[in-house]
């Protein structure tokens, strides 16, 4: 993956089209909301709750199913020039493999992201990733079905106690990179399982990224969790990530991805000129 890649995080970019007014879709790396083989209606409302500097979500993977996605959403995104990374999630290893097999034949899929950290796997009847070897088996099954020249990212929860072990396991199973991370398991105000996201989880995710990149320098890590501007994106890159994902911030300001892309492109230009003057102005702005 190109250093400094900024991706739209799974489940936070709608079908992709809704971002068109706020970002140039041509060349944009977008991870789709997690797609299942069969359509899913999703969970009850309320699905999203506000918490200080964060959101807790319990969407329940509402999605139209693979067939509908392939027939309508994917072709539109490909025509718009989006680099489509399809997030897959399933009830069994066989379902993950079937998703990978069918997506390998679909024109225009840039890569896959294997969702291994859904907040309520048991409640939603999804394959339960309790141990790193569970994650590794899923990744191995997906990798077998998907062409070796296209990336398969493994997305893990930012769980510090298992991050290095988990990253090593999925890397050994053939993942091209690791996304750290997903939402932090949490509860909705009424007690239902949910996932905590946004700036509230940034320090936790940063720590995980740092531990993994230090322990496993060969593993490509994409950082995520509360990325809401150039400053947080740079913090993940400084921790050793090659790219970042932006989720919750898009719900708050749909132009976030475009802003971060532009700022990082400027960094790159500055780097070539040996000039880091841009950092301080942005730091100040983000602290306000």
């Amino acid at each position: 993956m190109r250093w400094g890649t900024v991706m739209v995080a799974s489940g936070c970019g709608g079908t992709g089209r809704e971002l068109a007014p706020y970002a140039d879709l041509d060349g944009l790396d977008l991870v789709t909301r997690s797609i299942t083989l069969d359509p899913r209606a999703g969970g009850p409302t309320p699905r999203i709750a506000e918490t200080p500097s964060g959101l807790v979500h319990a969407v329940g993977h509402q999605n139209p199913g693979l067939e509908h996605f392939l027939a309508t959403e994917l072709p539109w995104l490909v025509r718009a020039g989006v680099r489509v990374h399809v997030s897959v999630v399933g009830a069994t290893i066989g379902e993950y493999a079937e998703l990978a097999r069918r997506l390998s034949r679909a024109p225009g899929v840039a890569g896959l992201e294997v969702n291994l950290g859904a907040p309520d796997q048991a409640g939603e009847g999804l394959f339960e990733v309790r141990e790193p070897y569970h994650a590794a088996s899923v990744v191995a099954a997906v990798r077998r079905e998907f062409p070796a020249d296209r990336p398969v990212l493994a997305k893990l929860r930012p769980d510090l106690s298992r991050a290095v072990e988990g990253a090593r396991a999925v890397h050994d199973a053939g993942a091209s990179g690791v996304v750290l991370g997903d939402a932090v398991p949490a509860a909705m105000p009424d007690g239902r399982p949910g996932g905590l996201t946004g700036p509230a989880i940034t320090p936790v995710a940063l720590r995980c990224v740092h531990e993994v990149t230090s322990a496993l320098p060969d593993v490509e890590v994409v950082g995520g969790g509360g990325v809401d501007g150039p400053r947080t994106a740079r913090a993940f890159l400084a921790a050793g990530a090659v790219g970042v994902q932006v989720g919750t911030a898009l719900l708050h300001d749909p132009t976030t991805v475009a802003r971060i892309r532009a700022a990082l492109a400027d960094d790159h230009a500055d780097d070539t000129a040996g000039d880091h003057a841009g950092d301080t102005a942005d730091d100040r702005e983000d602290q306000r």
Partner: protein, 278 residues
């Protein structure tokens, strides 16, 4: 009404700008804000809303109906919204001073569809949610439709201005639960008679879910066509998060959960599964 995905028209799509509060006015229980928001008014159609950001690390956006737009004025393009301070976000908004800046995204959502013929239209709005019916009434009048506007509320403090409504509607009537002004009662108990009197062909409603359900049912009983503006809680307002599902019956008879923010908020009343919406 279609299932996902629906596109945002690329040319007329929403914009994201930093708006500035130009004026604030207290009216009963509500606060009216006039916001300079370049790019929004010229794209506005009645039934659209804006999503605004509130402060203090609160990430969910607050959807607000657009009550009025001015494309040109002393301060450039402006829009008006009506805020009822109920929770921390709306209270924060209601307390904004003139000159405050706030991120505004819009216009968002599917607007009200307008009849082609000059047919009789009844508009029923409850509380601040009646806000989008004012610009709708003006558009309908331009098309030659006789407009009957019903403003309903718990009490006088929660009514939008009937005086102002009279500028666009041929007939305006007021219903309050406590009878402080207008007829005493509520929408469900009175809507039938209102539709009858106006010989309504098309019915529009905006307000709490129970009110919308009652209006939709009354319209269906007389074979009138209804459109309702839903107030489903939303986190982003832009179609990104799937936090505002609405169960609707599509053309093919299959129930789907569409997103209130982009597939609505205005939907056909006879398509909504009211029971499931709660």
């Amino acid at each position: 009404m279609t299932s996902e995905p629906t596109g945002v028209p690329a040319v007329r799509g929403p914009v994201h700008v930093v708006g500035e509060v130009l004026a604030t006015k207290r009216a009963g229980a509500y606060r009216h804000l006039t916001i300079a928001a370049p790019g929004l008014p010229e794209r506005f159609r009645a039934g659209n809303f804006v999503a605004v950001s509130v402060g203090d690390g609160r990430l969910a956006r607050r959807p607000l109906w657009i009550h009025r737009v001015k494309e040109t004025g002393a301060y450039g393009p402006t829009l008006d919204v009506v805020v009822e301070p109920r929770g921390p976000g709306s209270t924060w908004l209601a307390d904004l001073p003139v000159g405050a800046r706030l991120p505004v995204t819009g216009p968002l959502g599917r607007p009200f569809a307008l009849p082609r013929e000059p047919v009789s239209c009844v508009l029923v709005g409850e509380g601040y949610a009646a806000a989008p019916l004012f610009p709708l009434a003006a558009r309908l009048r331009e098309r030659g439709c006789p407009v009957t506007l019903v403003l309903a509320a718990d009490d006088e403090g929660h009514l939008l201005s009937a005086l102002e409504a009279r500028r666009s509607a041929r007939s305006v009537s007021v219903i309050t639960r406590d009878g402080s002004v207008g007829a005493r009662g509520d929408v469900p108990s009175q809507v039938e008679a209102v539709l009858e009197r106006a010989d309504a062909d098309v019915v529009y409603a905006a307000g709490p879910t129970a009110t919308l359900a009652a209006v939709a049912a009354a319209a269906e009983r007389r074979g009138a066509w209804s459109q309702v503006a839903l107030e489903t809680p939303m986190a982003c307002g832009t179609g990104l998060c799937q936090g505002c599902p609405v169960p609707v019956v599509a053309e093919d008879g299959v129930t789907r959960r569409v997103r209130a923010c982009v597939d609505g908020p205005v939907v056909r009343g006879d398509r909504v599964h009211w029971g499931e919406l709660g």
